[in-house]
Symmetry: C2
Subunit: 153 residues, 2 copies
């Protein structure tokens, strides 16, 4: 028997999965961002780190990681690339030698001005009203936070 598609298979159907919706939307965002961020010389994760630093500077790697849900295994090499691009400086804290503080260079600060056009371009690409996007964002954040709550038991 050729295994006809059955109702019992619905939970395993790709297009029914919310995780795949989220996964594929994340990649779609990445592809839209790519040409915009190329002009800034940033990758998407690097852009996220810069967003954090543009809000507050001179913070330990740990803080950036907590904000972005990333660990040092991801951030250490990424921050070294930003340092090589002269956008940030990495210095050991003198109060606590375990911490490495990340500070923006003048170039890093200046890049913020060039980045201001990015959110507008993304808004246009999403072809969606701001209130709709805000509502979706809040729902997705709430879902993410519930998922993260499960991970910490």
């Amino acid at each position: 028997m050729p295994r006809k598609s059955s109702a019992a298979d619905a939970p395993l159907r790709l297009d029914n999965q919310i995780c795949f919706a989220v996964y594929s939307a994340a990649h779609a965002f990445n592809r839209v961002y790519k040409p915009l961020l190329d002009r800034l010389g940033l990758t998407y994760p690097q852009y996220l780190v810069m967003l954090v630093l543009w809000e507050r500077d001179d913070v330990p790697v740990k803080d950036i990681g907590e904000r972005l849900f990333l660990d040092s295994g991801t951030l250490t090499p990424l921050l070294k690339r930003l340092e090589a691009a002269h956008l940030v400086r990495r210095t050991r804290s003198s109060e606590d030698e375990r911490q490495v503080l990340i500070a923006l260079t003048a170039q890093g600060h200046a890049l913020k001005e060039k980045a201001r056009s990015v959110p507008q371009s993304i808004l246009a690409a999403s072809d969606c009203s701001v209130p709709e996007l805000v509502a979706m964002r809040d729902e997705i954040v709430a879902l993410r936070d519930r998922l993260n709550a499960v991970i910490g038991e």
Copy 2:
């Protein structure tokens, strides 16, 4: 002047970004899936490929790529790992020698039964009603499709 947070900066604020909501939710899903998929011996992208194959077998790499929005650079090594795990077979099509057809092995088919408990666990972790999840999924898919439409000019 110490650059106080200003309303002009709102579009660049991390927590205002829907892309970051999606990006961080995708990673949260990945972390919830990890222990469940470890028991199947699969990574999350490998699980997605298996979902595609459990729906329809004996398809070219191209079809899997279109379904998952992934290219051969990602899929070729991933499929070789699934082959090494004896879950799929890779054979050149005889009608069109350019294509490589991916077929499930008996083990690959059998794994579907072990996978049936996964969606239920994810539903529980998301701590959300099915109608809510379905609504969110459809919104996210619609957004993804609009973003993908922009990429193809």
